[in-house]
C-alpha cells in the first residue's frame, strides 16, 4: 500500500514536470504553427536565471518569480528579430530555432563552465506520511503545474486575448481584416510560450541541478508529447505530455529502465501510426 502510494506520487510528479515543460512548447506549436526547437533552451535560461539569483545572494524564490518575465521578454525580442521571418517556411523555422537554441545552450555552457551546479528549493525537505517520505518541492511542482494549466486554459478559452489568438491561428487574413494586429498577437503568444518555459526551468532546477543540457534533455520527450497529443489545440499537447510523462516514469517500475526508455518511443510511434492526428484532433482550445 505504502509502496503503491509512493509509486503513484513519483509517477504523478514526473508527469507534472513533463506537462510543465510541454505547456509553452504546445502553445507555440498549436497557436502559431511553429515547432520551436529553442524551447528547451528557454527552459535552461529560466533555470540559469534562478541560479544567478541564488549565487548572488538573492532569495531563490525571487529568481524563480523573475525567470518567466525575463525569458518571456527575451522571447518577445527574438520573435521580432528572428522568428517572425520564418512563418512562411515552418521547416526552415525548425532549423532557425535549433540554431538559436544551440547558441543559447553553448553560451550558458561557457558561463557555467560545464559544471553541474545545485540550487536549493525555497521549500525543501520531505512530507512524512507514516514511513513514506514524499518530496515537498515535487508536491509544490504538481500544484503549480495544475494552477498554470488551468490558468492557460482560461486565458485561451475565456478571455478576449484568447479569442484573438485563436482567430489569428485559424484565419490570419480575416483576423487582420477584423482589426486584430496579428503581428503583435504572434509576438505576445511566442513571449507567453517562452515565459512558460522560463517558469518550468525555474521550478525544475532544484530537482535536476543546473547543467547546459538540461533543456535539450526534455526536447525529444516534449516533441513526442506534442505529436501524440495532436497539434492545433491547447489541450492536445498537454494530454500528450501527461501520457508520455506518466509512461516514462511508470515503465521503469515494471521492467529494466533501459528497455523502458526505448519502449516509450516505440509505443508513441505505433500510436501515431494508427492515429496520426493525435489524441485530440482539430483546432480550438
Amino acid at each position: 500500500m505504502g509502496s503503491a502510494f509512493a509509486a503513484g506520487f513519483e509517477i504523478l510528479s514526473f508527469g507534472a514536470i513533463i506537462v510543465l515543460v510541454v505547456l509553452g512548447l504546445g502553445i507555440i506549436a498549436s497557436m502559431m504553427g511553429i515547432f520551436n526547437f529553442a524551447q528547451g533552451e528557454f527552459v535552461l535560461l529560466g533555470a540559469y536565471i534562478t541560479y544567478l539569483a541564488y549565487s548572488n545572494g538573492i532569495p531563490v524564490w525571487v529568481g524563480m518569480a523573475a525567470a518567466p518575465f525575463l525569458v518571456g521578454a527575451l522571447g518577445f525580442v527574438l520573435e521580432g528579430l528572428i522568428i517572425r521571418r520564418f512563418y512562411a517556411a515552418p521547416i526552415v523555422a525548425m532549423l532557425g530555432t535549433y540554431a538559436l537554441g544551440l547558441i543559447i545552450r553553448e553560451s550558458v555552457r561557457g558561463l557555467i563552465g560545464g559544471f553541474y551546479l545545485s540550487v536549493p528549493e525555497p521549500v525543501g525537505g520531505s512530507i512524512d506520511i507514516g514511513s513514506i517520505h514524499v518530496s515537498t518541492w515535487r508536491f509544490v511542482i504538481i500544484i503549480v503545474t495544475t494552477l498554470v494549466m488551468i490558468g492557460c486554459y482560461l486565458l485561451l478559452s475565456r478571455t478576449s486575448f484568447g479569442l484573438r489568438v485563436r482567430a489569428t491561428l485559424e484565419n490570419p487574413s480575416l483576423a487582420r481584416t477584423s482589426g486584430i494586429s496579428t503581428a503583435s498577437i504572434y509576438g505576445t503568444t511566442f513571449a507567453f510560450g517562452a515565459a512558460l518555459a522560463g517558469l518550468a526551468g525555474a521550478l525544475l532546477v532544484p530537482v535536476f541541478s543546473l547543467f547546459a543540457d538540461l533543456g535539450i534533455r526534455f526536447l525529444i520527450q516534449g516533441f513526442v508529447s506534442v505529436m501524440v497529443g495532436g497539434v492545433g489545440s491547447f489541450i492536445g499537447p498537454v494530454a500528450g505530455a501527461a501520457v508520455i510523462g506518466t509512461l516514462s516514469a511508470a515503465l521503469p517500475w515494471v521492467m529494466a529502465p533501459v528497455a523502458a526508455d526505448i519502449l516509450v518511443f516505440v509505443l508513441a510511434i505505433v500510436f501515431i501510426k494508427f492515429r496520426p492526428q493525435g489524441l485530440m484532433s482539430g483546432k480550438g482550445v
Binding site: 513519483e10 509517477i11 545545485s118 535536476f208 533501459v258
Partner: protein
C-alpha cells in the same frame, strides 16, 4: 535586392582562401606552449596533450591541460630533460571521438610529438589509442581512473583501477555502512566492468548485492530505483550513475529518507568537483576512494606544495581533483620525465623500457611506481567522507596499492 553582394569578387575569394588555408595549416583548437629557450642545439622534446577542452567534460580536460602546463614549466625551469627543453602541444578532443582522432593525428603527424598523454573517458581512450600507439608508433599515457583491462603495449595507465578503488574501500563500507549493497549504474562500459569486480569483493567480504541495475545515460528521474532501495532496506548504495543523473538521484534518495535511516552513499569517482552537484546535506556521509583529496594537504607537505602551485597559477573554478584525471596527469608526466632521464634518449622503445619500472618519490597523495611488465601504476589510496560540503579522510592504505591489472 542584395544580389550585388553575392558575386564572389577576386578579393573576397582570396581573403576567404587565405583564412581557410591558414586555419588548415595551424589547425583550429591547437595550442603550443613554447619554452623560452626552444632553439637549443638539439631542439626541444615534444609532449602532446590530447584532452577534452570543450564539451560536457571540459572542466576535467581544462584541469588536465593546466596541470600539464604547470608540470612542463616546472621541468623547463629546472633545466629541462637531457639538457633539452620540453615543448608542449595541446589538442582538443572535444568530447567527440571522431574530432579527437583527427586532432590526435595532427599531434603525431604534423607536430611529431615524442609522447601523447590524455583522453578522459574510456571510449575516448579506445578511439585514440590506435592512432597513437599502432599507426602512430608513439608512447601513450592514459591518466584517468577507469575499469581496467587495458593491456595494449606502449600504453601506460596512471589512474586508479577497480582493484585500487575497491579492495580496501568495500571492506570499509561493510564495516561503516552494512552488508546489503545496491549497484545503481549508468549503462556503459565503466560501470559494467567495475561492478563485476565490486560484486566479487562485496561477496568475498560477507556482503550481498541486493540489486544491480543499469539506466540510460541521460535518465534523470529515479523514482522506482529509490523506492526499491528503500523497500529492500539497502545499507550501502555503491553508485556508478554519472551526471546529469547522479544529482537528482542522490536528491531523491535523500528525500525518501535513505540517509535518515542510516544508509551510506558510496561513489568512487566523487571528488571536489562533483561535491557541488548537490546541497551538502543531501550527500552527508558520502564515501569515495581516490588517489588524492584536497583534504590531504593538511598533513602531507608534498600534496600541499603541488596544490598550492596549481591554485597560484590557476585560481578559479577549474579544480585540481582526482576525478578529473588531474592527479593522473601529474603522475604520468613525472613518471615519463623520470623514464626519459633514465633512458637518456626519447625514442619510444628506450623510454617505454624505462617507464616500465619508473618511480617518483613525490606526487599528489604520495609516491608512485609503475609495476614492471604491467604498465599500470602502484599508488596510495585514500577513503574520504563528505561532511558539510568538504571531505574528511577516514582511512588510508598501508603503502602503495597494487593495480592488479594485465
Amino acid at each position: 535586392m542584395f544580389s550585388d553582394h553575392n558575386y564572389l569578387s577576386r578579393r573576397r575569394f582570396l581573403s576567404g582562401f587565405a583564412s581557410a588555408s591558414g586555419a588548415l595549416a595551424t589547425g583550429v583548437g591547437s595550442w603550443v606552449v613554447r619554452p623560452d629557450w626552444a632553439n637549443a642545439a638539439e631542439g626541444p622534446i615534444k609532449v602532446g596533450i590530447a584532452t577534452d577542452l570543450t564539451g560536457p567534460i571540459a572542466y576535467a580536460g581544462n584541469a588536465d591541460a593546466n596541470v600539464a602546463k604547470m608540470v612542463i614549466k616546472e621541468i623547463n625551469d629546472a633545466g629541462g630533460l637531457l639538457g633539452r627543453p620540453i615543448e608542449l602541444f595541446i589538442e582538443d578532443t572535444a568530447s567527440n571521438e571522431s574530432i579527437a582522432v583527427g586532432n590526435v593525428r595532427k599531434l603525431i603527424q604534423r607536430d611529431k610529438v615524442d609522447m601523447v598523454l590524455g583522453g578522459i573517458t574510456s571510449s575516448m581512450r579506445n578511439a585514440i589509442k590506435d592512432p597513437i600507439v599502432a599507426r602512430g608508433k608513439t608512447l601513450y599515457i592514459y591518466p584517468q581512473l577507469y575499469e581496467g583491462k587495458e593491456c595494449t603495449p606502449y600504453l601506460f595507465c596512471t589512474g586508479p583501477t577497480p582493484a585500487q578503488q575497491c579492495d580496501e574501500f568495500i571492506p570499509w563500507l561493510i564495516k561503516n555502512g552494512g552488508k546489503k549493497f545496491a549497484l545503481p549504474s549508468a549503462n556503459y562500459v565503466w560501470p559494467h566492468t567495475l561492478n563485476v569486480y565490486a560484486r566479487k569483493v562485496i561477496e568475498a567480504n560477507g556482503g550481498e548485492v541486493v540489486f544491480e541495475e543499469y539506466y540510460p545515460l541521460d535518465q534523470i528521474d529515479f523514482g522506482s530505483t529509490v523506492n526499491r532501495i528503500i523497500s529492500n532496506k539497502v545499507d550501502v548504495v555503491f553508485n556508478t550513475v554519472i551526471p546529469p543523473g547522479v544529482g537528482p538521484f542522490f536528491k531523491q534518495l535523500y528525500e525518501a529518507g535513505f540517509l535518515k535511516n542510516g544508509g551510506r552513499l558510496a561513489c568512487v569517482y566523487y571528488d571536489e568537483n562533483t561535491l557541488n552537484i548537490n546541497q551538502a546535506n543531501e550527500i552527508e556521509g558520502l564515501a569515495s576512494c581516490l588517489d588524492y583529496f584536497k583534504a590531504l594537504t593538511k598533513d602531507d607537505p608534498v600534496s600541499a606544495r603541488i596544490q598550492a602551485a596549481y591554485d597560484k597559477d590557476y585560481p578559479g573554478k577549474i579544480l585540481f581533483a582526482a576525478g578529473s584525471a588531474a592527479t593522473g596527469t601529474y603522475r604520468g608526466l613525472k613518471l615519463w620525465a623520470a623514464a626519459v632521464k633514465e633512458a637518456g634518449k626519447v625514442d619510444r622503445d628506450s623510454v617505454a623500457a624505462a617507464l616500465d619500472h619508473a618511480k617518483i618519490a613525490e606526487g599528489p597523495g604520495g609516491p608512485a611506481e609503475m609495476v614492471p611488465g604491467k604498465r599500470h601504476c602502484k599508488m596510495k589510496m585514500y577513503t574520504a567522507v563528505a561532511k558539510g560540503g568538504n571531505y574528511e579522510i577516514v582511512a588510508r592504505s598501508n603503502g602503495l596499492v597494487d593495480p592488479k591489472e594485465c
